[in-house]
């Protein structure tokens, strides 16, 4: 059978290198949303995870999320079918070889493995993909240049930070490292625009814009709570009403995961040494008690079913 390229007239601008197949490594809650958002825009997504059982679970979770979107009139049943047809799961990293771009979204929750694990992963990805494939990390407090250190071609490494709630937020932070090439950056910018989001250019710095602004806000909200000034829902409601945020500081902390928030706080505090990033004792206490937010059904709020808060878990002496 003929291929279309045989009919080229040599007139149009040659392939500009769009992302048509995306690899996702570690398809947890963040990876899943990226997967379905990207698949929704017609690109193929291959996600890599630890076992076939986990792959099955991930498909069930994505299936459920899509059903929930349908329930709220976001997409139709046939669109769901189409989205799912673009998604594949694998346990073999070699299956990512044809990807135009690979994003690692492995959990930030594992202790002490953050940098080294990701560095190794980047090198492993580089050993299977083509020379043009972009290697990226959904990072917020890590530095892309650190992750790319062991790469043969660090110019292909770039940070891409999807901000919670990923499917509703219109922007994506695109983080240029020391060696990131302009080609890599432009390709990622086109990718971000293809999924109908606006790229925000970041010159690498821990926390980018979003996390660096969010962490002090959550810490301050904890201070207000500890001082007995106001309750969890009232602090959230006040912030939402006065700033137009979709979520209040406690709600977003629960949504991101308090263990992840704690990790961000530690990383930022270590980097900048500024007290405003130092983890609040409340966050530490909740994480120790395994009150990690929505994922464990308890955080600043109690979550019953469908992730809806049914009441706050923390009250202080003054606020009952």
């Amino acid at each position: 059978m003929s291929d279309l390229a045989e009919f080229s007239l040599g007139k149009s601008i040659k392939p500009k290198g769009s992302v048509q197949t995306l690899g996702i490594i570690g398809c947890g809650s963040v990876g899943q949303v990226i997967t379905r958002v990207v698949a929704q825009y017609g690109m193929d997504v291959i996600f890599l995870d630890v076992s076939n059982e986990r792959i099955k679970e991930i498909f069930e979770e994505i299936n459920q999320q899509l059903d929930n979107v349908i329930k709220h009139w976001g997409i139709t049943h046939s669109e769901k079918k189409l989205i799912l047809s673009h998604i594949k799961g694998t346990t073999h990293i070699e299956d990512l070889k044809d990807c135009d771009m690979v994003i690692e979204t492995i959990s930030s929750r594992q202790k002490g493995t953050l940098l080294s694990l990701r560095q190794e992963l980047f090198q492993e990805v580089e050993s299977v993909v083509s020379k043009d494939t972009i290697i990226s990390s959904d990072l917020s407090t890590l530095i892309i240049s650190d992750l790319a250190r062991g790469l043969k071609h660090p110019k292909r490494a770039i940070g891409i930070h999807f901000i919670e709630p990923i499917d509703k937020t219109n922007i994506v932070e695109v983080v240029k490292g020391r060696d990131t090439s302009d080609d890599t950056y432009e390709k990622v910018v086109r990718f971000v625009k293809t999924i109908n989001k606006k790229p925000i250019l970041i010159n690498e710095s821990p926390g980018n814009i979003s996390t660096r602004m969010l962490i002090p806000l959550i810490n301050e909200a904890c201070e207000i709570l500890m001082e007995g000034v106001a309750s969890v829902p009232d602090i959230d409601e006040t912030m939402k009403e006065t700033t137009g945020y979709i979520y209040g500081p406690f709600e977003i902390a629960d949504k991101i995961g308090l263990d992840k928030i704690l990790k961000y706080m530690d990383n930022l505090y270590q980097e900048y040494g500024d007290k405003k990033y130092k983890a609040s004792p409340i966050i530490k206490r909740l994480v120790r008690a395994n009150y990690l937010g929505r994922q464990t059904k308890k955080g600043f709020y109690n979550y019953e079913q469908e992730g809806k808060p049914i009441g706050n878990t923390i009250s202080c002496a003054i606020i009952k």
Binding site: D3, A5, S8, T21, G42, H72, T76, E79, T194
Partner: protein
């Protein structure tokens, strides 16, 4: 003269190559899944028994059109020997805003105006423009023509096209009714007058374009006087998946209750509603009719009644608006082929003086006069052909 017609969507391009003025289609097909995996070009020449499919990566509209031109001059699938044989390009452009009341040669200023109108049709005009830019690059010396869906309805009077909202919103954002399917309404209404040997400029016509998207137009003395679609194609008739007319208060109520965003509400009214939403069966009339007749599905029956009722209501309204009607036309997939739906719409119109010729009521897909000789109003089926109209307009406008 060979004219290529392009209808560019967000990820596909429909095309036809015409030999004009012979009105002969030399080749037609589709550039499919642009920028997506599984992209291909499907092409069928007038000499081919079946469609050919050529697969490969198509990254953008320009590349797709370049490959298409390459295919048209190829030995294997082509039908011309040189690109210089192509004399003009005709583009379907969805929205011409208030700027265009007819088809025009695409000049720098015209393209600028189409770019500006993208605000009113953010899903449709940008891909139309991609096709225009691509042709400018690929065949820079060939004239291009834009044929607008909205143009025919630009003759609607102010009291018809304005909404009952603060006038300043019309002034600021041009929020008003524009109407669509204009090329089709124009073609079938003219054709009906030719068939009946009546003077287009002295005739009152109601044209029902009934397909998955559907609209009715009132055409008075050769000019569009009113049409059921509005600022967007969602207004008017109940369609395959669109609501048609709905109290905006009901939408606010639903959005509040269901906590839906603007985007989700848009999906709700354009993809979940209409015949699909009411019947719960399908957006396709044939499936709904099967469910209603063979399975006794009550909601399917209701949906069919609602569809016919809404069309009937518009016909009555437009007869009143024009102080009478001479010709009633059915076109579009449903209008041309769905005998039952046509019959339901046409029931109880004796007060207008419609008399139907029962022997013709089963006819499908061809020019047919459904009414009797004595019928006060002539009822016709006229198959639409939007590509041909674009080719004709292009032929008329390009310098010979």
């Amino acid at each position: 003269m060979k004219i290529i017609i392009l209808n560019c969507g967000s990820s596909s391009i429909k095309f036809q190559l015409f030999d004009m003025p012979k009105r002969k289609v030399l080749a037609k097909g589709l550039v499919d899944k642009i920028g997506l995996s599984g992209s291909a070009i499907k092409i069928q020449r007038d000499t081919d028994a079946k469609e050919n499919r050529i697969e490969g990566e198509v990254l953008d509209h320009e590349q797709g059109i370049e490959y298409l031109l390459g295919i048209l001059i190829s030995k294997e699938y082509g039908c011309i020997s040189d690109l210089e044989e192509i004399n003009a390009v005709g583009h379907r452009v969805v929205h011409g805003a208030e700027e265009f009341s007819g088809s025009v040669l695409l000049t720098k200023n015209v393209i600028k105006a189409i770019e500006k109108a993208s605000e009113l049709a953010p899903l449709h005009n940008p891909p139309n423009l991609k096709g225009i830019y691509a042709m400018q690059n690929l065949l820079p010396n060939i004239p291009q023509v834009g044929v607008f869906d909205t143009a025919f309805h630009q003759t609607m009077p102010e009291h018809v096209y304005l909404y009952g909202i603060p006038y300043i919103l019309y002034e600021k954002y041009k929020v008003r009714r524009y109407g669509f399917h204009g090329t089709s309404h124009r073609y079938v209404s003219k054709k009906a007058c030719e068939v009946l040997n009546m003077k287009y400029s002295e005739t009152k016509i109601i044209s029902c374009h009934l397909g998955n998207g559907a609209s009715v137009a009132a055409i008075k003395n050769g000019k569009s006087y009113d049409t059921s679609m509005g600022m967007t194609p969602t207004e008017g008739l109940i369609m395959g998946t669109r609501t048609g007319d709905i109290d905006p208060g009901a939408l606010l109520f639903i959005a509040e209750k269901e906590k839906t965003s603007i985007h989700y509400t848009n999906t709700l009214i354009n993809k979940f509603s209409g015949m699909l939403g009411v019947s719960g069966v399908s957006s396709d009339m044939r499936n709904i009719e099967t469910a209603a007749e063979q399975e006794g599905n009550k909601r399917a029956k209701t949906a069919l009644q609602m569809f016919a009722y809404r069309v009937k209501k518009y016909i009555g309204a437009y007869a009143a608006a024009m102080n009478g009607v001479d010709i009633l036309i059915f076109t579009g997939g449903i209008g041309e082929n769905d005998v039952e739906t046509r019959r339901n719409i046409l029931s109880n119109f004796s007060y207008l003086g419609i008399e139907l010729d029962e022997s013709k009521m089963q006819e499908r897909g061809k020019v047919t006069i459904l009414s009797t000789k004595n019928s006060k109003i002539k009822v016709l089926v006229i198959p639409t052909n939007e590509e041909l109209i674009i080719a004709e307009d292009t032929y008329k406008l390009v310098p010979k």
